[in-house]
């Protein structure tokens, strides 16, 4: 007993002490001085080290890639090796990294002052990283210049512009188009029209469960911890002309269009796989003949032939013959007030403090064969951003033969029609950062699970909640 009574007063005293230390005191100033001294030491050390090592001075370029599956990493390493063969003084380290952990890894790297030189990342991170000042925009500009600004598709280039500086914040690399993939055979048998509009989707929702082997019509993104729900919903919202800000810069998360979009999305849960779902469950349900529609990126295309799964044997066993051939592609969605398609652009960001060699390395990855080698890793999920690469890309995959030519051309030109909340012309840097925050805080998946699964929000209260939250985020970004 005595021990605990000792701990407690002490803990309280500590707490008081802590509070007292919180105000800036002379002690803190001393700490700062110490730091300055510490900084000088390594500089001197480097000088000492460099003198004897001048002959074989090696520049290390650390390249984090979210293309983290083993064969892809191998390919990146192979491409890097080609560069290193020509430049013996450069060592490129390819570091595979999980999409989900990238935020945390960047944070720890930043804290350790060990930011990588190049990071492959989704466009949604670019604006927030640019706002935090950890991207080297001049380096990105230089790479785009050296690869040839005219060779980039216009859509992707516009998306990476940092409105605050007018510069390109990162280098476009590849991307995919989102669509509803659906069972053309079942749709035809049941007399359903292709799911390209709210009406036809609702009709399918009513008819599909119980038709053929299907248990459900679709899988919705409802897992509040996953961004998938946001990706699907954003297309639904845009198809109803619902955007987070109006032209005057006011938050518009509670407009009738937004409420309508939320209600439409939630109503699909009646025919959807139960429980919190995201792309993994969605893909499985479609491949296993359990659901008849699938919101997914073009990445799915080879999986629909082979079954998604492993390079090293063992795939989802698709019980449907020629699933790919029976699958239709609906990238555009028409709503009551508009139409939209959705996609993702992936970029290579050059991080602040990166060695200038990093620019050459990025350009190397975007050049000729090297670029095609990257695209070949998942030809359907990596639509080229360079016009000069389209020809080569279209010959990359034997799976092309499984899909209709119109599907193919829709994909190749996908970047030109693709939309995102983030890149609505006229949004300034603050608004983009707020949209990044909406995704970062998973606000949309949170309300979607609240409406569709838990029933403790209605579309109206959810919209009010979103409005309040986004206004707060905006105020925080402005303040």
């Amino acid at each position: 007993m005595k021990r605990i009574s000792y701990v407690l007063p002490l803990a309280l005293v500590m707490a008081l002490l802590l509070a007292a230390c919180a105000t800036p005191t002379p002690e803190t100033v001393e700490v700062t001085r110490e730091v300055e001294v510490e900084v000088e030491v390594p500089v001197q050390q480097t000088v000492v080290v460099e003198v004897p090592a001048e002959e074989i001075e090696v520049t290390v370029i650390e390249f984090w890639t979210t293309d983290n599956e083993e064969p892809r990493v191998d390919k990146y390493e192979e491409i890097a090796a080609r560069y290193m063969a020509e430049h013996p003084d450069v060592e490129i380290r390819i570091v595979p990294i999980d999409e989900g952990s990238i935020s945390q890894r960047i944070a720890t790297a930043r804290a350790a002052n060990r930011l990588p030189d190049i990071v492959r990342m989704g466009i949604e991170r670019v604006s927030s990283f640019a706002a935090d000042g950890i991207l080297d925009e001049d380096a990105a500009e230089a790479v785009i210049e050296s690869v040839g600004i005219g060779d980039f598709r216009e859509g992707p280039l516009n998306m990476v512009v940092d409105p605050a500086t007018g510069k390109h914040a990162a280098v476009p690399f590849d991307g995919w188009i989102q669509a509803i993939w659906y069972r053309e055979d079942v749709f035809a048998d049941a007399g359903l029209a292709a799911p390209t509009s709210w009406d036809t989707i609702l009709a399918a929702c009513e008819t599909l469960p119980g038709t053929g082997n299907l248990l459900y019509a679709v899988t919705l993104g409802t897992d509040p911890g996953q961004n998938y729900g946001h990706q699907v919903f954003e297309q639904v919202a845009m198809s109803n002309n619902a955007w987070p800000f109006d032209s005057a810069g006011n938050v518009t998360m509670n407009t009738p269009e937004m409420i309508e979009a939320l209600a439409f999305y939630a109503s699909l849960q009646d025919c959807a796989v139960p429980g919190p779902q995201y792309w993994r469950g969605a893909r499985e349900a479609y491949e296993l003949d359990q659901s008849g529609m699938l919101f997914y990126s073009t990445y799915i295309m080879d999986d629909l032939v082979d079954g998604s799964g492993l390079e090293a044997g063992g795939n989802v066993d698709i019980p449907v013959d020629d699933l790919a051939g029976k699958t239709g592609f609906a990238s555009k969605m028409e709503g009551p007030n508009g139409a939209a398609s959705y996609g993702q652009l992936v970029t290579l960001g050059i991080m602040e403090g990166a060695d200038p060699v990093a620019q050459e390395v990025v350009a190397h990855f975007l050049s000729g064969e090297n670029y095609l080698d990257v695209l070949e890793l998942a030809a359907f999920g990596k639509v080229p951003v360079l016009k000069s690469a389209v020809d080569g890309w279209s010959k990359l995959s034997p799976y092309f033969a499984n899909y209709a030519p119109e599907t193919m051309s829709q994909i190749a030109n996908g970047f030109d029609t693709m939309q995102r909340w983030l890149f609505r012309p006229g949004y300034d840097a603050t608004q983009r950062a707020v949209i990044g925050d909406i995704e970062g805080r998973l606000l949309i998946p949170t309300v979607l699970s609240n409406i569709a699964l838990e029933g403790n929000m209605t579309p109206e209260t959810a919209a009010a909640f979103l409005q309040e939250q986004v206004e707060a985020l905006l105020a925080e970004r402005q303040g």
Partner: protein
């Protein structure tokens, strides 16, 4: 430990070579490595964390934290006003209330189940040693393994065991996503905590039970007490102190627990407790000041509770 020796009162230097002084030097020498590691890696960072909570630390200046601008209580005010933190009615508790409810219920359940397990194992029977060892499994097995097994047993997909069993029994028609329903998810996380940590309580209680003086039971026998009477009037009073101490320890640990919920639900469906919120502020939103402020709030709640607990509950036990 309560009796501090008076010998130490002598001025230190004059007795540099005295036996006590040499003893003290040796003692310090023995304990110094431990003290340095613990103070350096826990106490100092804890102070540092307080400092961070009053500054604006983001990704932009994380590599140079000491230059971060001082922003007073702003982080705290923002956290208090955050939708994920504050209580907004019964359907959305917010992390603070969720944390408190979760830790109290989980700790109570853990101690209760630990008590039952200890009572079951207190009587000798064949195979008691093996049973006791098996009872320890949940506590010693890696959290990653057990969390993923449970997640999978509770999975809403057709291969989830619990759904299969309940459907076969005719209790439900369609699979339920157990870990994804507000309320149910929190309850299951609480039950998981109890499942995982009851062995700790059991061990402590068992040790105390075995130390209970037999004459007390014999006296109760003489008085004609039944099993319940013996438990109520002999066992329970003997266990009071242990139960109180276990409750306090487990509450502290549960309150600070991050991995279990992170691995089970990721903090969704009404299971977002303060440690998860801290992690999200820091590593998802890169607002390290807000993260630190959330952690400080967590700490203050814990301190207040401990103060009250030791003041009221433990004092009562001691006086009895």
């Amino acid at each position: 430990m309560a009796t501090q020796p008076k010998r130490l009162r002598f001025p230190f230097l004059r007795h540099w070579n005295s036996l006590q002084a040499r003893e003290a030097r040796l003692a310090w020498f023995l304990i110094l490595p431990t003290a340095i590691i613990v103070f350096g890696l826990v106490i100092f960072p804890a102070f540092f964390s307080v400092w961070i909570s009053f500054h604006d630390v983001g990704l932009g200046n994380l590599n140079d934290v000491f230059r971060a601008p001082f922003i007073g209580l702003q982080n705290y005010l923002q956290v208090f006003d955050d939708f994920a933190f504050k209580f907004q009615g019964l359907s959305s508790w917010g992390a603070a209330v969720t944390s408190i409810v979760y830790s109290f219920v989980a700790t109570t359940l853990t101690v209760l189940i630990g008590l039952i397990a200890a009572l079951l194992l207190n009587r000798p029977f064949r195979g008691r040693g093996a049973t006791r060892a098996i009872f320890l499994f949940p506590y010693v097995a890696p959290i990653v393994s057990v969390a993923f097994v449970w997640r999978w047993i509770l999975d809403p997909r057709p291969s989830g065991v619990l759904n299969d069993v309940l459907i076969r029994l005719g209790l439900i028609d369609l699979p339920v996503a157990f870990l994804a329903e507000r309320g149910l998810a929190l309850l299951l996380v609480v039950m998981f905590e109890a499942w995982r940590y009851f062995p700790f309580a059991m061990l402590m209680i068992l040790a105390r039970l075995q130390a209970v003086d037999n004459t007390l039971y014999e006296a109760a026998d003489v008085d004609g007490a039944g099993n319940w009477g013996k438990f109520r009037w002999v066992t329970l009073p003997e266990l009071r102190y242990v139960l109180g101490a276990i409750f306090l320890l487990r509450l502290m640990w549960t309150f600070n627990k991050f991995d279990d919920i992170f691995l089970l639900t990721g903090g969704g469906f009404g299971t977002k407790v303060l440690p998860i919120l801290t992690y999200e502020f820091s590593f998802k939103l890169f607002d390290f000041g807000k993260g630190a402020a959330t952690a400080m709030i967590l700490l203050v709640i814990l301190l207040i509770f401990m103060f009250l607990y030791v003041r009221v509950v433990m004092r009562n036990i001691e006086e009895d």
